[in-house]
Subunit: 292 residues, 2 copies
């Protein structure tokens, strides 16, 4: 089912999880896998921008995607280099154009939700001007195929839990599946992959294990992707912003069930839910219950 | 079961969720509840500190708890007032002592994980000096009683999903159950309640629906609570920090099952797991799958 992936999780990568010992409910010793979580400090040219807690794979994609989603990389910016130092946990993105975000960084202090990530301040500035593709479509047959593919793809989530996943999809094909301890990082890694590979957004579908909060909606809209799907639920502001932007917002997508609270017009009911075997709520679950 | 609560969720509070209409997998109209998510800007005296995305209940507890957990309120600080303006979405905490955190706020820019919250910078400074109560105990009978109580307590999670919960417990009693769209906010609201009511931490048990990341462990240790329980999973750094601090860290606590990866010595196996009816993995689930 995962034959369509360009990039997908590598649960075998020993850098991404660790085996630890403890005891279980019977007091018996157990050995279990837990996901890696480590800081990565991002520099844009000579300026320190942020330190992210990340699982540590694809630091180049995370760096570029973060800068893109924070409006710190302009369309016409030319990236001249991305240097990652694994020992120092530092990644440096170099651009042709000189950059200075002192003011923006100051602003971020005051606007950062931090329990929710940092999308406020001037990131909202671009939101109202984004035009999402009216002609984009989501066939329910694609949606059912995608959720099945994603739920059965070998992943750190299935291996160790306590991690978020995001998947960039096109029609019924899952293209790029990223996982991270911070769900915003998973989104940013996909954004970085799209920037570095010059991937159009208008015909894509974005899937996330995380909740459909205002930030998730804003990031998807800013990326220019017209359809956002999650197995998790909604917040009221997430729904409001999706409707404002004309984003197709689908949540609680598990097995045959889903709820669309914005942009229904793009949904094509080409496969009846009754033809889909329902997914037990336990699917995709192991050590944890991802979302925020 | 929830007779022991001092504070617990009020899913009937119309300010905390909204009814929205959409369509389901059959294209049929549906009406569903979604949780409120709105900004709250926190001032400490004359200084703007942060804007948080929150469900909006208990702004006073959230404000004080945030400042406490960010080391911006000292033990001897006297709070002279907490003013909340619901229209402006602003809360102001006033202290006897003059405060100035310009430097700290600058530091936060560089250290804020933001996908994970803001605990780095000088919040870590106090971590190594905290002494958690060696004599604190967790009886498995308490753990099983608590998870049953919490899972059956009427909550916004059961009502609308897409929200995190934290519960302050003592022995087998659930005392304060807070929910929020940002899990860090739920923790901070409990911290605020403890500060304002002068509640000792050494004999408490902290339960969270969220994952046991480095930040969750750091906050619990900084609060002085010796036992942290989650139904979700672990990150490697969370486990490492818990072991460093001697925190009892229990995850994947569902039904009869749990895994302890740090501080086992505090666990008293006074009830056999075989005497517990296992909780279906679907318990506590509705629209979403909280965690990060």
């Amino acid at each position: 089912m995962s034959g369509s992936y360009v990039l997908q999780p590598d649960p075998e990568d020993s850098r991404l999880s660790t085996s630890v010992t403890g005891i279980d409910q019977n007091g018996q010793p157990v050995e279990t896998r837990v996901v890696t979580e480590k800081p990565l400090t991002l520099y844009l040219n000579s300026q320190e921008v942020v330190t992210m807690m990340t699982i540590g794979d694809h630091p180049d994609l995370l760096a570029v995607g973060y800068l893109k989603n924070q409006n710190m990389l302009a369309e016409d910016d030319v990236i001249t280099g991305i240097d990652h130092d694994d020992d120092l946990d530092v990644v440096v993105v170099r651009t042709e154009r000189e950059t200075n975000f002192e003011e923006k960084l100051k602003k971020k202090v005051r606007t950062s939700g931090c329990a929710q990530g940092t999308v406020f301040g001037d990131v909202m500035d671009g939101f109202d001007t984004v035009q999402l593709d009216e002609d984009a479509r989501l066939n329910t047959s694609w949606l059912y195929a995608l959720t099945k593919t994603i739920n059965t793809t070998p992943s750190l989530y299935l291996e160790a839990g306590a991690i978020h996943g995001c998947v960039l999809c096109q029609e019924d094909r899952a293209l790029v599946y990223m996982e991270d301890v911070g769900r915003h990082n998973a989104v940013d890694k996909i954004a970085g992959w799209m920037v570095l590979n010059d991937i159009p957004a208008h015909d894509k579908i974005f899937y996330t294990t995380g909740r459909l909060t205002s930030e998730m909606v804003i990031k998807t809209v800013m990326m220019g992707i017209p359809i956002l799907v999650s197995r998790s639920g909604f917040t009221a502001w997430g729904v409001e912003l999706a409707r404002k932007a004309g984003l197709t917002l689908i949540g609680r997508a598990r097995g045959k069930r889903f709820v669309a609270l914005s942009g229904h017009d793009r949904i094509v009911f080409d496969m009846s839910a009754s033809d889909v075997e329902d997914e037990p709520d336990t699917a995709r679950r192991k050590g944890s219950v991802p979302a925020e």
